[in-house]
């Protein structure tokens, strides 16, 4: 906060380097500064309250005690007066005045004109009005042969007949005590405010520094350095949490960017080939025989090629949609058994025609939260694959629950996928050597994986002994 520097008179400002002044100006605008200033204000006010209370209960206590003593003394004297009249009162006052001066009590009784009748004060103190009530005055006393003026607190009673009774107490000790308390409290307050100022300044500087760190990192990331991260200081406080979250967000962005780059590369690489083929076909048709039948055939082939390209594009878009889509959109409770039965019913005729025995085994009530269309398509892709690569035999679709997870499996009796290839087949455009002869774009399993991930699930391949068993696992829906 550094207020001392902020309140510098303008004339002196030239002494400070420009950068420093800019820093201070910026400081004034920061949230941290406002927070610290507010903190300091509240701190100072509560400090003041505490000090006032301490003063009231220490110095004030001595004063209140003095007045209570005087009250008791006057009550005693009034009782004496009631019993023994004025002369008795004078005697008592005289006796008490002669007593031990150590108790610092002051007595004076005078006639209506202020002439002393008895007491330990030399005469009617100067400037003291002659009516009942509390009063403070200074009196002159001789001690050790020196004349000193000392402060006193007293109560004055006008007795019937105009006589005045003054009962007081020397309060020089109390006054000294009060002064001492005042000084102590003032110093304590000043020190506390100083510490508060310093604390506030440190706090706001600290806050500012950590926010700065985040800002600088963001700027570097925006400038293109995507792998930069906000440093953590390991305190796991809010700032660390903020930094952690920001870092996670950056991780996610970096991952998405990498994925996008990968897709772009894949697309560039794997669509160029069919596009060149298409171009070549059209060119050949143009320079080839002008016989109409041949030309029509060439055009038809070109259209087929274009259709395949479009199918690939659509599959890529589907994958992108599944990968990027927000999970909340079109999300509903989907009964996996229903999805499985519908798909099986859809594929059953073609499966039968190709010599498969398609069976469905479902457990009831296996539900997940998700997108029915995407799940259907993932399952359709798996069934398509099985029909393409296996040559008949059992084809099972199973829906079950295992350890609070919903499981959807498709198992065939085909050649399976060898262990080393089981990860790679999920990548875009990856087709195993022996599947090159069958039509396909190498995107089917990519979509399956994208759909699994979209539903916070996993997909894994296993040996069905013989054959391939694809297992999709999804977390149970949160209500």
């Amino acid at each position: 906060m550094a207020d001392d520097k902020l309140t510098l008179p303008m004339v002196q400002s030239w002494r400070w380097p420009r950068r420093f002044i800019q820093q201070q100006r910026r400081l004034l605008r920061t949230h941290a500064f406002r927070l610290a200033a507010l903190y300091f204000l509240v701190f100072a006010l509560s400090m003041l309250g505490v000090l006032l209370f301490v003063y009231w209960s220490s110095a004030g206590f001595v004063e209140r005690q003095t007045e209570a003593t005087l009250d008791a003394e006057i009550t005693g004297l009034a009782e004496q007066y009631a019993q023994r009249g004025l002369s008795g009162l004078v005697q008592i006052v005289a006796a008490r005045s002669a007593g031990d001066p150590g108790d610092r009590m002051l007595y004076l009784i005078t006639d209506p004109d202020g002439r002393p009748l008895a007491g330990n004060i030399a005469g009617w103190p100067l400037g003291v009005p002659a009516h009942s009530g509390w009063l403070s005055f200074n009196f002159v006393s001789k001690s050790n042969g020196r004349t000193v003026t000392r402060p006193a607190r007293a109560s004055l009673i006008i007795i019937p007949g105009g006589y005045r009774l003054l009962v007081g107490r020397d309060i020089s000790d109390a006054a000294a005590f009060r002064d001492r308390v005042k000084m102590t409290l003032m110093w304590a307050g000043l020190v506390a405010l100083g510490v508060g100022l310093l604390g506030g300044a440190t706090m706001s500087r600290n806050l500012l520094r950590r926010v700065e760190l985040v800002n600088r990192t963001s700027e570097r990331v925006m400038a293109g350095n995507l792998s930069d991260r906000v440093p953590l200081d390991g305190t796991s406080d809010e700032f660390d949490l903020l930094a952690t979250n920001l870092n996670r967000m950056l991780d996610q962005i970096e991952r998405l960017m990498a994925a996008m780059r990968e897709v772009t590369d894949d697309v560039a690489h794997d669509l160029k080939t069919p596009l060149s083929r298409l171009r070549a076909r059209l060119e050949l048709a143009l320079i080839g025989p002008s016989d109409e039948r041949a030309q029509r055939e060439a055009i038809r082939a070109a259209i087929d090629e274009a259709d395949r390209l479009l199918a690939t594009f659509n599959a890529l878009l589907r994958i992108a949609e599944a990968e990027a889509g927000s999970a909340s959109e079109r999300s509903e409770l989907v009964d996996l058994a229903e999805v499985a039965r519908a798909a099986a019913e859809f594929y059953e005729p073609v499966a039968e025609e190709r010599g498969f025995r398609l069976s469905v085994a479902t457990e009831p009530g296996v539900e997940i939260r998700g997108d029915r269309h995407l799940l259907s398509q993932a399952l359709a892709n798996l069934l398509d694959n099985a029909l393409k690569y296996a040559e008949g035999g059992e084809l099972e679709v199973q829906v079950s629950r295992a350890a609070e997870r919903a499981v959807l499996e498709v198992a065939d009796r085909g050649p399976g996928i060898p262990e080393p290839d089981r990860e790679a087949v999920f990548d875009r455009f990856v087709r195993l050597e022996r599947s090159r002869s069958t039509p396909g774009n190498g995107l089917g399993l990519s979509l399956v994986r994208a759909v699994a991930r979209r539903h916070q699930g996993t997909v894994s391949l296993a040996d069905n002994q013989p054959g391939l068993r694809v297992r999709l696992e999804f977390p149970a829906p949160t209500p």
Binding site: D307, L317, Y347, D371
Partner: protein, 225 residues
Amino acid sequence: MKLLVVEDDRETAAYLQKGLSESGYAVDRAGDGREGLFMASSGGYDAIVLDRMLPGMDGLAVLGALRAADIRTPALILSALGSVDDRVKGLRAGGDDYLVKPFAFSELLARIEALLRRGQAAPATTSLRVADLELDLLTRSVKRGGKPIELLPREFSLLEYLMRNSGQVVTRTMLLEHVWDYHFDPQTNVIDVHVSRLRQKIDKNFDRPLLHTVRGAGYCLRAPD
């Protein structure tokens, strides 16, 4: 039959206009959303083919304005946006069908015909009939020439859709969407096998087939000439 094509891309528009005219439709063209809205509002069209992304006023806004004005001309939305979400948005905005670009012209033609047919659909029929083939929607039974034919539930839905669009080409995609509610193309010839099974049941023992394959387009259920 008069169609309005609202499409900003000149080349696409020309291709649509040419293809649709050759198929026997009178075709008007609007080059942007506002023009399309004016022309469509003046009425007189049997169907509208509407591009989704248009300059000035986008296709969905045009549709919204038309439907708000209680103009119910059936509309087919053309769009490059093909996700299920986009489709749902398009249909919610008042579209009657949604076709993703690029498309085969035969697909567009089949869908337009289905739209036109729907526009004049007989209200709440309980039975459908094509030649001697009868389908009872209440008892969910099918007869041909008076003889009952046993169909699986999905075969029944498939036949119902074909009969509702009898005389017109129905594409595989249309069948996928309307009979199975699947919005993707399977890699295998699943639809063909379903159709051939249905054909086995309704055509096999009869001299004159009703269910025909239209090469490069789809299927057509029609009464013999």
